[in-house]
């Protein structure tokens, strides 16, 4: 068969675009494509229906995978390769993954919400399965044999029980093949050979040798270094500035556009000197006071509202409890601060930047400069982490403005101080919880209100007939935004602390209370696995306490047990045990690495991280002033992965963060009798 396998719809709609983008070369190849689909987009975004290429096999046998997801340390460059390699029976390290380049990959909303594994992975898996079917068909036609007698192995199609074999490149050469995703079944997790195994990090060697180019490492010919004049506080207005002293310096371009003032110079020291030469005049904004924060976020308690049928439920309760919890603003502190390199060429703007939303930043740039989609290309090199803190394109816009004015490429790298002061924080919040239980521990009413920090993780995972949960927006004095797990940490902390208070009032074991109200088998699974590995049934050593917390969020289930004591007036976490169920595990070493990392990151939010502010500034805006977890803070830990090969694979980079703080708070109560309801947890001095 020499006839091309062109799908009509793809042919009619997308071949011109694919040819323009060079996806189909004259020498031939195979491309698998489909619509992005509503699963990946926002309902109101027209680009969700675009068609793009997900996978391509070239005449030289190289396999390239395209995705709008980005690599920020969660290791999707490795795990997505494993899934594709599974279908194509190739070495995962032989694949090239093009991630987060708006000119090359199908549109994507962004890398957040633990969606890469449940949403992107199946698309790439099915694209690879479609490619596999096409390759087998092509070889079958070539050899005039049934495709059922052929298989893929080591980059070849081979005849089962026969002598014939052919490399994938040779097979596709001279053909222009298009296939759609979803035309062939994918391998079931129970049959995985490449996936489901530990697999070394795809670009690990580049990282340990310093060859990996992060966004802040990008260099372009003629590159200048930019710096931006920052106001003395949020909301300040620039009333006057004289650019002349900066512009008089050799090689310096200074720009003012409204409140934006920046400079571009031959190196970063020259840029800093140029900024220092400016004498700006600012009109400060009225300052919000930290002392008024909680009253601002929650003007009046709402938990006593008893919405829905909660009042009726409470009437049947033997024991009721009402309590309020607070979580502080905290900073993401990605080790690589925001960075971008912008270059204008023939009216087209190209920006290399660290962002979790390359297409979002493309849109920001289009709006700022009045450009079309085709005129802006955002390239996201693997970034020095994000944790939800890099959804926006500040540095990209700044670099683009300066590059436009200077007529040369410009790099803008934020300082740590800028990252603390001008990025956004994890929201602070006040969470009110009200509940009632029968004497046997059955929850008969539950109500939870989150003020400001968010609705994620708000709905309890327990079987409670009378329940009401609600998120209340507030006027945050600080710029705030996404953080790993969103409000999951806040809402888990409040709910799971509150349940412990209820268990204490009922004189019930905290694990027994949770199991008493659990009908979800997978929640029961993580609770029992964590408790068993931890040794929950044992009596803690004198002065020590055990705590447990659990929940369901982002399609996965988690339970964490903590052992805590107090030494020298300090909370000491003796050990942590987390059990996690994220369905069929694609790379167990990656999931373990993620959970280990989240144990550490959670300790920061649980025990000491908090942003403070005054006069429209973060007052602890350097690493010497903002404490983050260090090597000395790590605690003995165990991780139990409930590898469910019978369940779809879902994300693993957020939910394990959520149960740590409440487990610690609950253990602290058992150890000391002190119930702390604020994060970070601080013992009264």
């Amino acid at each position: 068969m020499t006839e091309d396998l062109l799908h009509e719809a793809c042919d009619a709609l997308y071949l011109p675009s694919l040819r323009r983008r060079g996806f189909l070369q004259a020498a031939g190849g195979l491309a698998v494509l489909c619509a992005v689909g509503p699963a990946l987009g926002q309902a109101d975004d027209p680009r969700r229906a675009e068609v793009g290429t997900w996978l391509r096999i070239d005449h030289d046998g190289s396999i390239t995978v395209y995705s709008g997801k980005i690599e920020c340390g969660q290791n999707i460059r490795t795990t997505l390769a494993q899934i594709v390699a599974e279908e194509l029976a190739v070495d995962p390290t032989s694949l090239t993954l093009v991630l987060g380049d708006t000119d090359l990959v199908p549109w994507d909303a962004g890398t957040f919400g633990s969606q890469t594994t449940p949403r992107m992975m199946p698309i790439l898996r099915d694209a690879a399965a479609a490619a596999r079917a096409a390759l087998l068909d092509l070889a079958a036609a070539r050899w005039q044999v049934p495709a059922t007698g052929l298989r893929l192995a080591a980059g070849q199609v081979r005849e089962v029980g026969g002598p014939r074999q052919i490399g994938l490149g040779e097979l596709v050469a001279g053909h222009q093949l298009l296939r759609r995703v979803g035309q062939a079944p994918a391998t079931a997790p129970s049959d995985w050979r490449v996936a489901g195994q530990p697999q070394r990090k795809a670009n690990g060697r580049d990282i340990v040798t310093g060859q990996q180019r992060y966004p802040s490492d990008i260099v372009r010919p003629g590159l200048l270094y930019g710096a931006v004049l920052r106001p003395p506080g949020w909301g300040a207005e620039l009333t006057a500035v004289d650019l002349a002293p900066a512009q008089a310096l050799p090689g310096v371009t200074a720009v003012r556009q409204g409140n934006f003032v920046g400079v571009a110079a031959p190196d970063s020291a020259a840029a800093a000197a140029a900024l220092a030469a400016l004498r700006p005049h600012w009109r400060p904004a009225a300052a919000a006071r930290e002392a008024e924060l909680w009253a601002t976020l929650r003007p009046a308690p709402a938990a006593t509202l008893q919405r829905n049928n909660v009042a009726a439920g409470l009437a049947q309760a033997a024991v009721t409890a009402a309590s309020s919890y607070r979580v502080a603003y905290i900073a993401h502190v990605p080790l690589e601060p925001r960075a971008a390199v912008a270059e204008w060429s023939d009216g087209k703007l190209t920006v290399w930047t660290g962002t979790q939303r390359p297409f979002g930043v493309q849109q920001e740039l289009q709006q700022a400069f009045g450009l079309t989609t085709a005129q802006v290309r955002v390239i996201q090199p693997d970034v020095g982490s994000g944790y939800g803190g890099k959804h926006t394109g500040e540095a990209a816009l700044e670099a683009a403005r300066l590059a436009q004015a200077a007529g040369r490429p410009v790099k803008v790298c934020w300082t740590r101080e800028e990252e603390f002061q001008w990025a956004y924080a994890r929201p602070a919040g006040v969470i009110d919880v009200l509940s009632g239980a029968a004497a046997d521990g059955r929850l008969v009413a539950f109500e939870q209100h989150n003020h400001n920090s968010g609705p994620a993780g708000l709905k309890p995972p327990y079987a409670i007939e009378a329940q009401h949960t609600e998120f209340h927006r507030a006027d945050s004095p600080l710029r705030q935004g996404s953080y790993r797990g969103l409000a999951g940490c806040a809402n888990f902390f409040a709910r799971e602390s509150h349940l412990d208070e209820l268990a204490h009032a009922l004189r019930l074991d905290p694990l027994a209370l949770r199991l008493r109200n659990t009908t979800d088998g997978r929640l029961r699974g993580v609770l029992e696995a964590a408790a068993e590995r931890f040794g929950w049934a044992q009596t803690p050593p004198a002065g020590h306490g055990y705590g447990i917390a659990c929940g369901y969020e982002k399609l996965s289930w988690v339970a964490t047990c903590a052992e805590v004591t107090v030494r020298d007036g300090r909370i000491v976490v003796e050990r942590l045990v987390t059990a996690f169920d994220c369905g069929a595990v694609i790379n167990p070493d990656t999931v373990r690495n993620q959970i280990q990392g989240m144990h550490v990151q959670a300790l920061g939010g649980a025990l000491f991280e908090a942003l403070h502010f005054a006069d429209q500034q973060i007052t602890n805006r350097w690493l010497s002033q903002y404490r983050v977890p260090r090597l000395r803070d790590i605690v003995p830990e165990e991780i139990v992965l409930l590898d469910r090969r019978d369940q779809p694979s879902v994300g693993a980079g957020e939910t394990p963060l959520m149960a740590v703080a409440p487990a610690i708070a609950n253990a602290l109560f058992r150890a000391t009798g002190q119930r702390l309801r604020d994060l970070p947890l601080r013992l009264p001095q």
Binding site: G204, G210, P334, L335, T415, S624
Partner: protein, 165 residues
């Protein structure tokens, strides 16, 4: 180079990664900026600018130092090694290999600094105690939280170096 209104660039010679390397820079410029911008050795990272995170660590006469708080003038004429100079043409340094073997990284932005600090530690203490590891690495920040693996990587590196002796 600009210092206020004065241009004070000087020709400096660095013994960098086994080679004599000349550069034009004001002697009071932080070494980190000169490495990354003038010499385009971007494996050395900026993380905080105040010596708190260790991402900018380089080896100066074999000792781990912070290139963000050292000036280029202070290191002229002394022996410098950055992450780019650690592996030989063929083989990784055993400490690099150990970080790969234990996958002691996630985003990898801190890794160069961690590796160089470990090289210096194991030079001084081939079989480091836990306290010695803490002293060497507690001031290195891994925000992804891979510290348990970094400890394993240090011990693995000690084994690999011991076996090579």
């Amino acid at each position: 180079m600009v210092d206020g209104e004065n241009v004070v660039a000087t020709r400096l010679v660095l013994h960098l990664n086994g080679r004599e390397t000349a550069c034009e820079a004001a002697p009071d410029r932080p070494l980190l900026g000169v490495l990354r911008e003038a010499l385009q050795l971007t494996g050395t990272k900026y993380g905080c600018g105040e010596g708190q995170c260790g991402a900018c660590t380089v080896l100066l006469d074999g000792r781990a130092v912070r290139s963000c708080t050292l000036t280029v003038g202070e290191v002229a004429g002394r022996t410098l090694t950055t992450i780019e100079g650690l592996a030989s043409a063929e083989a990784l340094h055993p400490v690099q290999q150990a970080f790969l073997d234990t996958e002691a990284l996630q985003c990898g932005y801190c890794t160069a600094g961690m590796i160089l600090a470990t090289v210096a530690l194991l030079q001084e203490h081939p079989q480091p105690t836990e306290a010695q590891i803490l002293e060497a690495l507690d001031s290195h920040l891994c925000r992804c939280g891979t510290y348990h693996r970094i400890l394993r990587a240090v011990r693995r590196a000690a084994e690999l170096l011991g076996a090579a002796r």
